[in-house]
């Protein structure tokens, strides 16, 4: 193990160049890098230039082909082979401490399923995704049929009710029409408006339905959106959106170990007691299989916004259409594998920048997650190459390939729960890439303290359009704002006014344990576009090569962006947090929560005052740090003190009790609704929505107190700088 620290040699040389030179460079167009002295920035720019030159579209495609060659669902033989492949590759690439961690978790697999309409006519659902002539992968016999992760097994014969999106208000409308779903089977569509399929299942379970069928309406992701696969990016007739229906919005990870890791010998609760395990049968359907049911339904005509894109008139149903549904699952404890590796930090190995992407896919995972996995493999190859050339970052970069993300965010959650104490002490940030790309539109998420840093980083990268990624991002945000378009698959995040980074962070991917359970600042990077084959067998290599990213340029850009962002966090002299921005963001959260709402006797004055104080402290710290960086003189001990202090800020947003009713979710600024949609100030907001004033007042006080703690922390850090002068 040779550790040649060439960059520091370079640093020494470059340090000799007068600071004024770097400052003038900044002025003349070279973007300055937040958190770096001029000297460090020069080195960093050199490193980044080298780093960015390494990932190649050809290699991205080669890796993507490997990961999309076969279906690789969590727990499958192929997915475990890919874990070993990643470990082997990483070792070859020069990554260190490569280890495969095993978690024995409650896994889910299908045995068989059948769905037959027995009245008014007979129809046997295909429950299969038919082969496309142009797409050889789609012909592979290994393609699984229709199933939902964590469905229960069972058999039922019952009438079918069309319950629109399957959200609580939809059942209200059915009730108004005299239609009950008790003991019946509800047929709902995926997205109108979007909500996580697990919440649809829980809602159906609460309503007393015997089973839930969820189908992909062409109005949402099919021909109503544009050309369908193999002629375009949208979902074809037979596409099935697989997925888990786990109630991971209550508690994610292995349902048998809620809040602790599924390591050998861990305590396990019985599945019957698991809050995140559904008690209802569920099956996803293509519209091909849903249409015969919908077009035979009786009952009132469904309201206009319930009418979908199928060439029929939608009815509420309830009596005439009867189906026989049989589902046999194979849910049992089985191993999931997380692959872990690192580039040890040259100076601060006990400070970690953590990167992760999940490996498991519902079928081939063309976009989700293998575009991210391919980008990760090129990103790690480039990191390894830097190390081989002596350019090791100051801090440790930890890279993980998660397993079972698709079944309740399981791998990352178990890993996070296992190493929670260590992460609390060491983690600077977690950067998640799930789907790297389904198109050209950049979507960057960050906790507000890191939003300015993320935006700044995009100025240093070139978008395939020829402009900087920053300019391309601005154009995308402007366009999406104009279209009133929702951003992302998983939530309807609003962007901070005028800003680019999305600071509304819900759940639905592997950042969850870091942010909500441990208090690690998170970033999420993604390119998206027209994409109608999400979680289906058609999300594959063919799709990516024809629609998503045919030239793998966005894969390559993602490798560059991900790595550069990590390198900056890993090598900054002073961590690039901006707490004044954070304060401003929290103020927006409070304003949005209060807007147009009856707040009863809830007193938010103390809270608002504390936000002002936190903002002022953040501004003072920003200024002190800027001066310190501009001076070029950084005392290592002071820097460590400051950096550890700044890392603590995010931890201080956690309430050990968790938010009311969901103790696992501890962050008081960020939460997620049961739909997976972002939910700011979750404890306070939910209490206000419920008009539960004692709880609301207590949650406001918890928030005020956290702000006070962080204000004091920032003031102490600032004083340590001023005192050091």
């Amino acid at each position: 193990m040779i550790r040649v620290c060439r960059p520091f040699v370079m640093l020494t040389i470059l340090s000799a160049i007068p600071t004024i030179f770097w400052l003038s460079l900044s002025v003349q167009g070279q973007a300055s890098i937040r958190g770096f002295t001029a000297a460090s920035q020069a080195r960093e720019t050199e490193v980044e230039t080298k780093f960015k030159s390494i990932p190649s579209p050809e290699e991205e495609r080669r890796q993507h082909r490997i990961f999309t060659a076969e279906p690789h669902i969590a727990g499958s033989k192929r997915n475990n082979e890919l874990a070993r492949y990643i470990a082997d590759e990483w070792r070859k690439q020069g990554l260190e401490d490569v280890v495969i961690r095993r978690y024995d978790v409650y896994g889910t697999n299908p045995k068989r399923a059948s769905l037959e309409m027995i009245a008014p006519t007979h129809y046997r659902a295909t429950l299969r995704e038919a082969a496309l002539a142009d797409d050889p992968d789609s012909k592979k016999s290994a393609i699984s049929g229709s199933w939902f992760g964590m469905s229960v097994s069972g058999e039922v014969t019952a009438p079918v009710v069309y319950a629109h999106s399957g959200n609580p208000e939809d059942y209200e409308l059915l009730r108004k029409n005299g239609i009950t779903v008790k003991g019946k089977i509800v047929l709902v569509r995926y997205s109108n408006p979007y909500s996580y399929r697990g919440f649809k299942a829980l809602t159906a379970e609460r309503e007393g339905a015997a089973a839930i069928l969820i189908y992909s309406d062409p109005a949402e992701d099919g021909y109503k959106k544009g050309k369908v696969d193999p002629d375009g990016p949208w979902g074809p007739e037979y596409h099935i959106q697989h997925g888990a229906i786990t109630y991971d919005f209550v508690v994610p990870g292995d349902p048998l170990t809620p809040g602790w890791a599924s390591v050998p010998g861990a305590k396990r609760i019985p599945i019957e007691q698991a809050k995140s395990a559904p008690k209802i049968m569920g099956l996803p359907l293509s519209w091909h299989d849903a249409k015969p049911l919908l077009e035979n339904m009786d009952g009132p005509v469904a309201p206009p916004d319930w009418q979908g894109g199928l060439p029929i008139q939608y009815h509420l149903g309830g009596e005439r259409v009867k189906v026989h549904l049989q589902i046999e699952m194979n849910n049992h404890i089985q191993p999931y594998y997380v692959v872990e590796s690192r580039i040890r930090g040259a100076e601060l190995p006990e400070e970690w920048v953590v990167l992760g992407n999940h490996r498991d896919a519902w079928v081939f995972g063309g976009v989700d997650p293998s575009s991210g996995t391919a980008s990760m493999m090129e990103m790690t190859r480039a990191l390894g190459q830097l190390v081989k050339e002596g350019m090791r970052p100051r801090r440790t970069i930890v890279i993980c390939s998660w397993d079972g993300e698709e079944v309740g965010l399981t791998g990352s959650t178990e890993w996070g729960e296992q190493f929670a104490d260590e992460l609390r002490a060491k983690a600077v940030a977690y950067i998640n890439v799930d789907e790297a790309t389904s198109g050209p539109n950049f979507h960057g998420q960050a906790v507000a303290s890191l939003a300015p840093m993320l935006v700044e980083t995009t100025r240093s990268l070139q978008d395939p359009s020829g402009e900087s990624l920053y300019e391309a991002w601005k154009a995308t945000v402007a366009r999406e704002k104009e279209q009133g378009k929702q951003t992302g698959q998983m939530n309807d995040s609003g962007l901070v006014d005028g800003a680019l980074a999305d600071t509304r962070i819900g759940s639905g991917s592997d950042h969850t344990v870091f942010l909500n359970f441990i208090g690690v600042p998170v970033l999420g990077l993604q390119f998206d576009g027209d994409y109608g084959v999400y979680h289906s067998a058609y999300d594959d290599f063919f799709w990516m090569n024809h629609f998503g990213d045919p030239e793998y340029r966005y894969h390559t850009l993602m490798s560059q962006l991900w790595g550069v962002t990590a390198l900056r966090l890993a090598s900054a002299d002073l961590l690039p947090f901006d707490f004044a921005t954070y304060a401003e963001n929290v103020r927006q959260f409070v304003n949005e929560m209060a807007k147009g709402r009856d707040l009863g006797a809830l007193d938010l004055n103390g809270l608002r005052k504390e936000i002002d104080s936190f903002e002022e402290a953040g501004q003072r710290l920003n200024e002190s740090i800027s001066r310190m960086l501009a001076s070029g003189r950084i005392d290592a001990q002071l820097a460590e003190h400051l950096n550890h202090g700044m890392m603590q800020v995010e931890r201080n947003w956690l309430n050990p009790e968790g938010i009311p009713g969901r103790p696992w979710f501890k962050h008081i600024l960020y939460g997620a609704r049961f739909t997976y949609a972002h939910l700011e100030l979750p404890g306070l907001t939910e209490a206000v929505e419920n008009q539960d004033w004692p709880t609301a007042q207590r949650q406001a006080e918890i928030l005020r107190h956290a702000l006070e703690t962080n204000t004091k922390l920032l003031d102490a850090l600032n004083n340590s700088i001023v005192g050091a002068k």
Copy 2:
């Protein structure tokens, strides 16, 4: 010719019964009949009871089968055979003065048409309405293909633009998207919102398009509405909505004789000078033929309200899709035939109640018009039977079978223009039935002066639901109000608040010449329902027997209603006009015209005052007439004076100059937009919309003056009653 006047014998007898008896009958539940003395009412009730007992569902079906047996387009051999059949039947039924009148008009027939997409792929449009397995008529080879009446012949190869509904605002949106239609072919859909296809053609012509294709989107009349033929009433994949694109909203009838009749030796203008003759090629399409064009289009995605019910994403097009369109028409002067007959009035033969229905159909005409024709044949059989039994009405009832309604309202217009002077002198009212029934929902139209009489009449008829037609009508209006549903095929009539009768009368059927050119009060009767095969080959006997009126009960009810309404108008002692209601309606028209509009310096005070005066005069006359009828003593000479005076009121609403820009349309209260939608106070409203204040002021003055004339007329009539006492 034996004229046995048995009713008058009966009258004499009944007159002996004390008036008080009839009054008490009225109080005890026997509806009183407006315009009748108690004695006359007794006779009328007897007559009506007899009349209503005659029409039978079996006969309605038999007649309907005869009229729907073959296609019978205007000018065709079959349609002319049917004219002879009607004349023969009428003679057998006992109708008098049966005559077939010939008009040599500019007719329209297809020779051949072809439509081929030549880029980006090849598709040859079928231009045919495919046979339905269950419907034997649909297999008849005589079924014509796709064509529009009055299209010009030509050939063009050009790109296709999707122009939504083809209304002017749609071209505005295209322009905003940088898309011009000059020299291109526009593809538009029928109804969203509804506008008459001729206006779409004129708009396309004005925009410089080379041709217009109009297709039936399943969102409007197909599977998005419900089950399609042969499983339900909505339009199937291959249905083509035929129709004329004549600009009859400028001037209806034979384009070569605008404003005079096409009798032998009549002056004819060259077709090039005819304002109502389109100069553009046009072709209707089924959605089967439109889909290949729409799904291959390029250009921006069409806005949400332009997206239709086809399983594709709609684009604006403009470049990629190119078609080769060839249309050869056979437009030339040819004879149309109007069949005319009458029941001569026993006492007042020179006062006419005119009834009419058109005979010509686009193909079989199941609903349009043969349901009306069948109802007419049963109505005339019953009238003939009354005459045979000695129950002859006091006034003459004239019954006409129009021709070429579908091609610019031609037959009725030429007939009306020929007999305009006679009608001005003699016509009490015109009662139009076009489509008798496409379902169970009654829709009754009347000029406001006859609205109370029509509503009253429906109390005397039994709906198939078991309730009175009046109660069924109330339920329909309430239901349609609740659904915010548009009423009728041809317009989006609003109903007078609280009233049942629709007093917003646009164009689109044979009442037009009577109301707008001659000033005859009109009524229109129709039952409607779910009906997606309008103007297509599937509008046939099969459709009627499975969906429209399988038991012919609404046909039967229409025969009864039509006849009873005519009998009341024909035998009333004093014509049942209500001018106070008319005044209230005109006030509503003015309020609606003014509502929310910038009226500039337009002074409506004089107008409003005159409406008040007219209303008061109407109330005074109503009271005087009521008293006169209650007294039971009607002086024949005074009655004739009053009736002729009341008939004059409608004539006084005509401005001989016509409305600005459309001299043929002379009525100042009722008009139609180019879309065929009703347009109240047409001259005034259009001037206000154009902010043309001098014209608006002049139109307001014309209206005020007409009101003043009618107020004076009513006062004179009232004085003649008071003076006679």
